[in-house]
Symmetry: D2
Subunit: 242 residues, 4 copies
């Protein structure tokens, strides 16, 4: 299994917020990739950022990617449409996609979902509790109920997404808000998992439980074939089955 | 539209908790019925309790009921199986059913859902916030986001129910728990709405927003025909469409 | 309730196929509107086509539209993006949308769904049977099981759509294919119903059962408020509920 | 992975229909088990029938079962309620369950689903086509689109089941009927897959594609832990997370 962790990398490049270098000396993508390597020892995990040529998402790279993780926030609009088109085709053809935290507003997520993906937010370092509501789901395996995140940005409802295929996690925040924090979707032949915990300002991606969720998500979203097969129109003759 | 509010009525009969007579001088069913009469002036709203002959749920009564609301807690096991069978047939045949609060453990709800319907609970008079997560749903029309319930029993996940058709409301509690507090199901031709806010110890059923949810639920669950038509086996010949 | 039936009107303008003038002397939109007027006597039903200024979908017109029906086929690419943007905003804000037959490939449907919306097709005048699989759904009320369409274009699986909120109808065709022919979605605050029966070459929109489905769909998709309210980001302070 | 194929075995014992001994010399359970052994070489596959003590479903046996397959038809009522109770607890606690063909009317399936599970049927040896409608689902991997079954009993809608978690397959029959022939459910911590193709009169379970679906279903339904953990009520104190 080949996994690619994509991070715009802008917070890291700008040293903003100031503590990002302390929490994420290798960038958030580095921390996420380290967690995946620990939990998925047979996977080949690499990283890419916005600053790479073609954002590190060339046709060749995507051809060799089973599951793509996407973290973006400050630079959604700087992602080239041609690259978004390419990622979209790969997802529809079978590549798994994990969209993380502020990636809810990425071009690729909004395009695949068809809604505004807007939400309520507040950056006040609140405790987040992540509750499992579908314990039979592979993404919930081995995940505490709840996961306790000591300090985190609040994301709250209304989260403007279509009804998910599976609602796996619901979060509450100290201020009282709730959020559908772990949801799955299918688009074409591709499986999508959105998971909200994780932020540039808090060391959430170092929590082992969060790493477990991401590893579970990668395994769940991985296609069973290398072939990309975007659904297309067919025009079969009447007797084609004979 | 003919609506029947069923309440076991045991807390009221026993004067337990002590404040129930103050909050619900006409019983919880009386308060619920009053709210429905106010908001659904064209509906014919009546009530029944466990102590009535056949629990007030005779074949004749059910034949004339479009939507049944069910509140039970202390006496689930005292509901006769023959009556549960009858209610089940009516729901499968098209009668709407609203199950309220501790009715999650009623025989009828568990039988229709097929799960344990267990949950976490704590009676500590906590603030509950009821958030709308499907604003297009008729049951959410005119309902504040969130509804604030000053004091209420906590119901928390894991709520062991099948995936609902629609998840309309999620609640959070002061202690941090979350709960899928407004969910819909279909069984046979019948529509089912479970709504958790409301308890024998707190005056929740007097809140206008809660009454609005219940009235919306009744309208949503009402069948479009008087005929009860439980799905049944058929054995059509090959050419029956000719 | 104000209903707008939109048809590109290109088949009618071109007299192609030749029998279209015989089946649809007022255009398909005319036949659809006539059916709605018959079944929804309180609704105000109007029509618009691609050739109208702004395709008949100006901001003013959409402000006054509760439910929009969309028929397109030959000219999807000629629909201006600015108009599609506008329709999209209205749907996300609460306007109901019915997408008909070859409208599966319209810009608006693909954008709201996020998939290719591709399918298998064959124009061989085959019998289509439309079976109800969710009889409790308002869109299925009064609809025969099955609806028999003597001659119709075949649409078959794989229909590349996201999992619908509700699967109401499944069709079979004489050649053996099946199709999820009646499906609902929610996007933002808007309700969407896709219904495949109906074509420029067959008089399907004159069948009373098909008209019944469309009228049911319009009623189901209608918003409960005139206000358009596209979900948007909010940034509430910690204590906003106090 | 330990898999148990349960078959009532009554058709085989009675030699009815007459050709059953020819098609299924080891019983349908024997043919199903052989297919699973071929495709899941690491699984331990055993069989049991109604005539075994405790129907071969003792507490010990179920403790050691990851996925149970269930075929029943003529003797649903002869399955002891105590055994059904036991199977139900195991499913709610995490055991996977595959229900096959006429098992739709088994006590265990009806109890877990909460509906009548009724359907239309006709035994006329018709061609069945099994179409994949969710190609991203693990159960659809490697399965032709469609699977062609030359002769099979017809099962048609309305199939009175709750909305499934996932609709994977839809079948059509030569007579024109359609059927949701591959559907998944979750109950408690257990995953359930119902698959209709397969009958005592036709050699369907010898088709490699059908065997592939069953093997995929077993893999999908298998729990990730040996521990059975039926959801239960909890009463956590306010500060339990501290």
């Amino acid at each position: 299994m080949r996994v690619l962790v994509w991070n715009e990398g802008v917070h890291e490049a700008n040293g903003s917020p100031p503590n990002i270098a302390e929490y994420y000396p290798e960038g958030m993508h580095g921390a996420i990739a380290a967690g995946l390597r620990r939990l998925l020892p047979d996977a080949e995990v690499s990283t890419a950022t916005l600053a790479d040529p073609e954002h590190g998402l060339s046709a060749d790279v995507l051809d060799r990617t089973d599951v793509l993780l996407w973290w973006g926030h400050a630079a959604h609009e700087r992602v080239q449409d041609a690259v978004v088109d390419r990622v979209e085709r790969h997802v529809l053809g079978g590549m798994g996609l994990l969209v993380l935290h502020s990636g809810h507003f990425s071009k690729i997520f909004r395009r695949l979902l068809g809604t505004t993906c807007s939400l309520a937010w507040r950056n006040d370092g609140e405790q987040e509790l992540v509750w499992t509501v579908k314990p039979s789901h592979p993404i919930a395996q081995g995940v505490p109920h709840p996961v306790v995140i000591p300090r985190q940005e609040m994301y709250g409802e209304l989260f403007d997404i279509p009804d998910p295929d599976d609602l796996v996690f619901i979060s509450s925040f100290a201020g009282g808000e709730v959020f559908r924090s772990g949801v799955t979707f299918t688009r074409g032949r591709g499986r999508i998992f959105y998971f909200s915990p994780g932020d540039q300002e808090y060391p959430v991606y170092h929590q082992p439980e969060i790493q477990q969720v991401l590893a579970n998500g990668v395994r769940w979203a991985a296609p069973t074939t290398d072939r990309r097969d975007v659904p297309d129109v067919t025009n079969p003759p009447r007797q084609w089955l004979l």
